[in-house]
């Protein structure tokens, strides 16, 4: 009966949309901080691109995919080197560590606080397994902003080889694949990136053994979020599909790096997804029935206090037992044969 209650339903949907907007605002980093992070990233890209042995530089990581969660303390950039300038790179042995040391000296020469020729921003550098971590703030500050710079060699199939210090090897990677997949999904459905950020935030409160890597959520979102519809339907679809998909393991979508988090608590996360799917399903039904308050309360149960919802309705003392979440609907006696 769409004609009967079309208008109030429209008004209710506005209420749910506004609540999602408010949640989104609480999750998204404010634009000034995002711009600052992008500016710092671009400074590194420019400086390194001027080096004679560098072919290209690009951002990877969630900032480059616009799926970052706040607060942004780190950005990732990839520096693609000319193999002719470093013929020994790319094969197993000490060259993996050498490549990282090479970046460190380049960064210090170009950007160090005391003697940088391009800018004076880097206070300290650290060698990590795959990257050089460059501190722009006091390294002891837990909120210190860092730029992770990674060396890479481009392969004939357009993927990359990156050094791995601990194993003294160069390993395949394809960060651009994920960047492109995310951009493609976003082109199809403008809610995609904002919802990925919501889901990354959601994961932080999930009861699982250990933690859940943010990349796990991002890849599941790519597989399970639809490419059309509103946010409520999209999330309902996501939670339902992800509850089964996570049992299959979450793997590098480019097919190069294997399982993203082998120690992931698949069962725990699956159970959390299934519970959220139930609540989302009930919330969608409540909204369709015109009970916006109930829908908002159910979404709040999924996303927590940052999702605005009215206080729970006072329980009627005349009723015995707890009221059902949604009052059961009678079945129409209209048999079909």
């Amino acid at each position: 009966m769409p004609g009967l209650n079309g208008e109030p339903e429209e008004a209710h949907r506005m209420g749910i949309d506004e609540a999602f907007d408010a949640l989104q605002k609480s999750v998204d980093e404010d634009i000034k901080k995002t711009r600052l992070a992008r500016g710092r990233r671009d400074l590194f890209k420019e400086a390194l691109l001027k080096e004679p042995d560098v072919l290209e530089t690009f951002g990877s990581g969630s900032l480059s995919r616009s799926t970052q969660l706040k607060p942004i303390h780190d950005v990732d950039i990839v520096v693609v080197y000319d193999p002719d300038e470093h013929p020994e790179w790319g094969s197993s042995g000490p060259s993996a560590e050498e490549a990282l040391e090479h970046i460190r000296s380049q960064v210090n020469r170009l950007l160090s606080q005391s003697k940088g020729t391009h800018a004076t921003v880097v206070r300290h550098t650290l060698l990590r397994n795959h990257a050089v971590k460059c501190f722009l703030d006091d390294p002891d500050d837990p909120e210190a902003f860092t730029v992770d710079v990674m060396a890479a060699l481009r392969q004939p199939d357009n993927s990359l080889l990156i050094p791995e210090q601990l194993s003294a090897r160069w390993v395949p990677a394809n960060p651009e694949y994920l960047i492109n997949m995310v951009a493609e999904h976003q082109r199809d459905w403008s809610y995609f990136r904002p919802l990925v950020r919501l889901l990354k935030q959601w994961r932080l409160d999930v009861q699982v053994e250990g933690r859940i890597k943010s990349l796990v959520m991002e890849v599941l979102a790519l597989q399970c979020l639809p490419a059309s519809g509103n946010r409520c339907q999209g999330l309902k679809t996501f939670f339902t599909a992800a509850a089964t998909r996570v049992n299959e393991g979450v793997w590098d979508p480019a097919g190069l790096c294997g399982e993203i988090q082998p120690d992931l608590d698949r069962e725990g996360l699956s159970a959390a997804f299934a519970e959220a799917a139930d609540l989302a399903d009930q919330a969608c039904t409540a909204a369709a029935e015109g009970d916006t308050d109930e829908a908002l309360r159910l979404w709040q149960e999924i996303f927590g206090e940052d999702f605005p919802a009215p206080a729970a309705a006072p329980k009627s003392t005349a009723l015995i037992g707890a009221p059902a979440l949604i009052s059961p609907r009678p079945i129409k006696d209209a048999p079909q044969g």
């Binding site: 399970c224 639809p226 309902k236 679809t237 996501f238 939670f239 339902t240 599909a241 089964t244 998909r245 049992n247 299959e248 698949r266 069962e267 799917a277 139930d278 989302a280 399903d281």
Partner: protein
């Protein structure tokens, strides 16, 4: 009389001008006619039958130029609706004539069948659902509406587009191992759900004794069951592409293994412990979910098992072991035989519709598994292992102790056993 207007005929009528002649194939005993040819004005009648090999409707009846069609005013179609409600009410011929601006033919003694096309009727009566093509019997005394049925532009599973996730299932590819009594009904049900691609695997031929339970008819006796099924499904459910493979899942495991790469889900309705175990093993190695359907206790109990290739979900053998250890299942002698061996199946003792009931539950389980995976919360199943009472007998051990016929019980998965050659990666 009911007048049938196939889609090609409707398309020609809608695209034509003011009037023309019709040829009809009429079956008097059926009180039925089908439009077979149409002319534009006084020109020659052109056939609107589908091109061969598609079968024509009422093919055994001769096509005769026995009617006319006219472009009509919208009001005439509203009148068609009113007169049908009143039943057996004729109207004066002048009314019809006035509603047909061009080409009207005065009827002879026997009268004729007329079709009218009112192109503007949907705009003129937007909520009425009046058809733009209707049929009449026109005589000297007057005219009366005739029943008519025009083939819709959308046929097949896409008619359900807004009520059922057609596209997801049209993209799905299911392998069905076993095309016997349960398998044949499962194939029909999977096609009914709108599965786009179905690969049928079974080496057996259809024999006389199969007819009592199989969905295929007597005319397929002696052919392989998969060929017969593929042919029938292609006729009945053209939205499902069927690949028949007369292969044995044990003997031709390598071929099956390769085919699993293009398969989303495996349904096994084969009888015999070995074939079921091999199917489950191959599916798990290929990271595919398998759904196994069978009857136990001589057809007294139906069973569906869903085997996900997941860490905490054991394979068929592991699940059987847990039931055997609990004392609820009496293992087949073949259960301890080596991989790929086992006894031949027992003769089937259940009645067809009981087997088809299990088959339809297996197909539902398969469709629901695909749809849950695609994010449809309304298709989540209550468990991984279903038992359904077909001919309940007292005294069965739990969980087989169903109280009544048609009782349905869902059980959870059981974990893999340590050292299981299927569950533990090689």
């Amino acid at each position: 009389m009911l007048i049938l207007i196939p889609q090609d005929a409707a398309t020609v009528l809608r695209a034509s001008g003011a009037w023309g002649r019709l040829s009809l194939r009429i079956s008097q005993p059926d009180d039925l006619a089908v439009v077979g040819g149409i002319s534009e004005g006084g020109g020659s009648i052109i056939s609107v039958d589908p091109p061969p090999p598609a079968p024509r409707l009422l093919a055994s009846c001769d096509s005769r130029p026995t009617g006319y069609w006219y472009r009509a005013k919208n009001e005439l179609h509203a009148l068609w609706h009113l007169l049908r409600v009143r039943r057996d009410t004729a109207m004066k011929l002048d009314v019809f004539k006035d509603a047909v601006p061009n080409g009207f033919k005065t009827p002879g003694d026997g009268g004729y069948v007329a079709l009218t096309h009112a192109p503007g009727v949907k705009d003129a009566y937007p909520e009425s659902r009046l058809p733009d093509l209707v049929a009449w019997h026109v005589t000297r005394a007057g005219f009366q509406p005739l029943e008519m049925s025009a083939e819709p532009e959308t046929t097949g599973i896409r008619q359900l587009d807004h009520h059922w996730p057609v596209q997801e299932l049209q993209n799905a590819h299911i392998m069905l191992v076993g095309a016997g009594s349960i398998g044949s009904a499962t194939a029909h049900a999977l096609a009914g759900y709108g599965i786009g691609h179905l690969t049928l695997v079974d080496p057996d031929r259809l024999q006389w004794h199969n007819l009592v339970r199989h969905t295929s008819s007597r005319r397929h006796i002696g052919r392989t069951k998969v060929t017969a099924l593929a042919e029938e499904l292609t006729q009945l459910r053209p939205d499902t592409a069927v690949t028949p493979l007369a292969l044995d899942v044990i003997e031709h495991a390598d071929q099956i293994r390769a085919l699993l790469m293009d398969t989303h889900l495996v349904v096994c309705t084969a009888d015999g412990v070995a074939a079921r175990r091999v199917t489950g093993h191959l599916a798990r190695r290929a990271d595919r979910t398998a759904i196994l359907a069978c009857v136990l206790q001589y057809g007294a109990l139906g069973e569906i098992i869903r085997l996900h290739p997941w860490r905490r979900h054991g394979c068929l053998t592991c699940r059987r072991h847990s039931l055997t250890e609990a004392g609820s299942l009496d293992p087949e002698p073949a259960l301890d035989a080596g991989y790929g061996t086992g006894t031949r199946h027992r003769p089937m003792t259940a009645v067809g519709p009981d087997l088809h009931l299990v088959a339809h539950l297996a197909a539902k389980t398969a469709a629901a598994t695909l749809l849950e995976h695609a994010g449809h919360p309304d298709q989540r199943l209550p468990g991984e292992h279903a038992l359904i009472g077909l001919r309940r007998q007292p005294g069965w051990a739990a969980p087989f102790d169903l109280g009544r016929t048609a009782e349905l019980r869902w059980l959870p998965a059981t974990p893999p056993r340590p050292g299981c050659p299927t569950c533990e990666a090689p």
